[in-house]
C-alpha cells in the first residue's frame, strides 16, 4: 500500500517539509516534485490501525507542519498520486476499485505532457474513465510508450516500483546579526541556540556529527571530532575554546554552522573493558589543555622513521587509538623490554669539556661542573647530509658527581653539548 501527499503549487520549502513529513512514517519515500511525495505504508496498520486511520495520521502530521495537503492511499503508486491530485482531503482506494474511483477525474491528474493533454482534449476525452476505454494498441500507435504508461495509470493498474529519495540532508543554521559582535562571550549564547536546533534535527534522523563548520563572515573554523557526537553543550564548549585559541580578529555580523552528519557511536560496555576516558569528555579535556599549554604541546608522541636523535612529532591524541597487534596480550607476554631512560635537555645545553687523550675528563654546563669519573665513547652518528638539517656528532656517556649524562660533540658546530641525564 502506498500513500501520496499532495499540495498544489508547492514551493521548495514546502516540498522539503513534505519529505520530512513522509520520512516520519517510512524510510522509503519517493520525491515527486512539484508538490507530491509518495511513500510505502505497508505494515503501518499494526501501529496506526486501518488505512483510513493511517491516512488521518498522515494528514495530521502534514497539518502540524503547516501544510494543507491532500492525502491518498492506494495499492499502487500511480493510483495514489492520481487520487491525491484529483480528490481533496483524505482518500483511500481499496485494491481493485482504483479504475472505478479514478474514472471521473480529468486527464490532467496523469501529469502528461501538454501535447498529449491537448490531443485528448481534441478527441473529446475529458475523464480518465473515457481514456481507459480506448484500446491500448491504438493509444500506443498514437502516443508511443508514454501513451501506454498513461493508459495504465488511467486504468489504475500501475505497477512501477518506488524510487527511494536519497537527498543529502544538510544540517545548517544561519543567523544574521543586527550589530557586530567583537568578543567571544556573547557568541556563546548564539552558538548554543543554533547548535541546540542542529542537534535536535540530527537526533530526529538518528545522526550525530563528527565535523562542524563554523563560518563567522569570511572567517572559517572547522571542528573535527574523533567520534560522532550530538551533545549541543559539548559542541558549544569546544567551538568556544577553539575560538578563544584562534580568535577571528574582526567583528561578526553573520554566523553559519553546518554539522556534517555521521552515524552515531554505539558502544557495548563490559566489565573487563580497560580504563579509558569517555571520548566526548576527553575531547573537551583536550581542548581545555590546549588552551592552557598550547595546541602543539598536547597529544601522543609519534616516533619518526629516522635515526635523528630526538626524532618525534606530536600527533592528535584519541582514546580509541589501539594497536591491534598488542590486544589480548598482557604486559608479561610482550617481549622482555629493557630500558635506559634518558631525560632530555630541550634544547641541548652547551657544555665546556676538557679532554685528555681525546677523552673528556672535566665538564661544566648549567650548574653541573666537575671531573668526569667515567667516560665511554665516542659513538659516532650522522645523517641527512643532503639536507640543511644534517647532523654529525660523537656521543659520550659520562658519570659526573654520581649522575649519568649523555654528552656529544657536534662536529659541524665544533662544540660540546649535554643531551640529557640517564635516570
Amino acid at each position: 500500500m502506498f500513500a501520496c501527499i499532495y499540495i498544489p503549487n508547492a514551493s521548495n520549502d514546502a516540498q522539503a517539509a513534505l519529505l520530512d513529513c513522509a520520512g516520519a512514517f517510512s524510510p522509503r519515500v519517493e520525491n515527486m516534485p512539484p508538490g507530491a511525495v509518495v511513500f510505502d505504508v505497508e505494515g503501518l496498520e499494526r501501529l496506526f490501525g486501518s488505512y483510513s486511520e493511517i491516512a488521518s495520521k498522515i494528514a495530521e502530521a502534514a497539518c502540524a507542519r503547516g501544510l494543507e495537503a491532500n492525502v491518498a492511499l492506494a495499492s499502487n503508486i500511480d493510483a495514489a498520486v492520481c487520487a491525491a491530485r484529483g480528490f481533496g482531503g483524505i482518500t483511500v482506494l481499496n485494491h481493485g476499485t482504483e479504475a472505478n474511483r479514478l474514472s471521473d477525474l480529468p486527464p490532467a491528474v496523469l501529469s502528461a505532457s501538454p501535447e498529449i493533454l491537448e490531443t485528448l482534449e481534441r478527441w473529446g476525452i475529458r475523464t480518465l474513465g473515457a481514456f481507459a476505454k480506448l484500446p491500448a494498441v491504438d493509444v500506443s500507435a498514437r502516443f508511443g510508450q508514454e501513451g501506454i504508461e498513461l493508459h495504465k495509470r488511467a486504468r489504475g493498474v500501475g505497477s512501477r516500483p518506488l524510487v527511494p529519495h536519497v537527498d543529502r540532508v544538510r544540517f545548517v543554521d544561519v543567523v544574521e546579526l543586527d550589530y557586530e559582535i567583537v568578543t567571544i562571550e556573547p557568541l556563546t549564547f548564539i552558538l548554543s541556540r543554533m547548535l541546540d536546533g542542529i542537534c535536535t534535527r540530527l537526533r530526529s534522523r538518528n545522526f550525530a556529527t563528527h565535523e562542524v563548520h563554523l563560518s563567522l563572515g569570511t572567517y572559517i573554523r572547522v571542528l573535527n571530532l574523533p567520534l560522532p557526537v550530538r551533545n549541543p553543550k559539548l559542541l558549544t564548549r569546544l567551538l568556544i575554546l577553539d575560538l578563544e585559541a584562534h580568535p577571528p580578529g574582526v567583528g561578526i555580523r553573520r554566523i553559519e554552522i553546518e554539522a556534517i552528519p555521521a552515524k552515531p557511536r554505539v558502544v557495548q560496555n563490559g566489565l573487563f573493558v580497560p580504563l579509558s576516558p569517555e571520548p566526548e569528555k576527553l575531547e573537551l579535556t583536550l581542548a581545555r589543555l590546549k588552551a592552557v599549554v598550547g595546541e602543539e604541546n598536547v597529544g601522543a608522541a609519534e616516533i619518526q622513521d629516522t635515526h635523528r636523535p630526538d626524532g618525534f612529532r606530536v600527533s592528535k591524541f584519541s582514546s580509541t587509538n589501539k594497536d591491534i597487534s598488542k590486544l589480548d596480550k598482557s604486559w608479561q607476554d610482550l617481549p622482555n623490554f629493557k630500558l635506559l631512560a634518558l631525560r632530555r635537555f630541550r634544547p641541548p645545553l652547551e657544555a665546556t669539556v676538557q679532554l685528555r687523550n681525546s677523552t673528556p675528563i672535566w665538564i661544566a654546563f648549567h650548574g653541573v661542573h666537575g671531573p668526569i669519573a667515567t667516560a665511554r665513547g665516542p659513538w659516532r652518528t650522522s645523517g641527512d647530509w643532503w639536507r640543511p638539517t644534517m647532523w654529525d656528532r660523537e656521543e659520550w656517556d659520562i658519570e659526573v658527581l654520581d649522575a649519568l649524562y649523555r654528552i656529544y660533540f657536534d662536529v659541524h658546530m665544533d662544540r660540546w653539548y649535554a643531551e640529557g641525564v640517564f635516570d
Binding site: P274, L275, S276, P277, E278, K281, L282, T285, L286, R288, L289, V292, V293, N297, V298, G299, A300, A301, E302, I303, D310, G311, F312, V314, F317, S319, N321, K322, D323, K326, L327, S330, W331, L334, P335, F337, K338, L339, L340, A341, L342, R343, R344, F345, R346, T374, R376, G377, W379, E395, W396, D397, E399, D402, A403, L404, G420, V421, F422, D423
Partner: protein
Amino acid sequence: MGGLPRGGITELFGPPSSGCTSAMISILAEATARDEVCALIDGNDAFDPKSAAAAGVELNRLLWIRCRKLEHVLKTTDLLLQGGGFGRVVMDLTDLPASNVRSIPLVSWFRFQRTIEKTPTVLVVMSSENIVKSAAALVLRMEKQDAQWSTLLNGFNFNIEIVRSRKSRPLKSYVRVHLHSECVQ
C-alpha cells in the same frame, strides 16, 4: 611493596640518575600494555619518547602534555583528574626549580587526592625531593647504586626505599608494578 594504590597519590623522588624516570616508564609500560589510557604531565619537556617506546610504553595510549611552568603543570593535572578515565596520571616535577616545587601548597595535594580517591586512577608524582608529604599514599625514595659500562653506558642498578605506605589503611586495590632492577641499552 604490593603495587601502587589506586585512588591515591604515589610519590617517587630522588636525585638525578636515581632511577625515577625508569620506574615511571615501567609503570606506564605496564598500564598501556593492559590498554589503559595514561597521561604524562611533563614539567620541563624532558620526556624521551624513544626511551619509553623501547621500554614497552604504547605511545598512542599515552597523552603527553609538555609544560614549562609549574602553574601549567598544576592546572593541567587538575583538568586531567577532573576529566577522569585515566589509569595513571604522572606529574613530572623533577627538573623544575626546587623553590617553586616546594611552594606548592599542601592543600593542592589533598585536593588531587580527594579528586581521585574514589576512582581507579593512580596519580604518580615525580620530583627531586619529598613534596607531597602526608597526602601521599605511597612514597618511594630512589637511589642510584652502580652503573655498568661497555662501549657506552650499559645500564645501572637502583635502590627503592619505601618511605611511607598507607597499606594499613583499607585501600580499595593495588596495582602491581614491575621495576627493572637492571637497565640495559
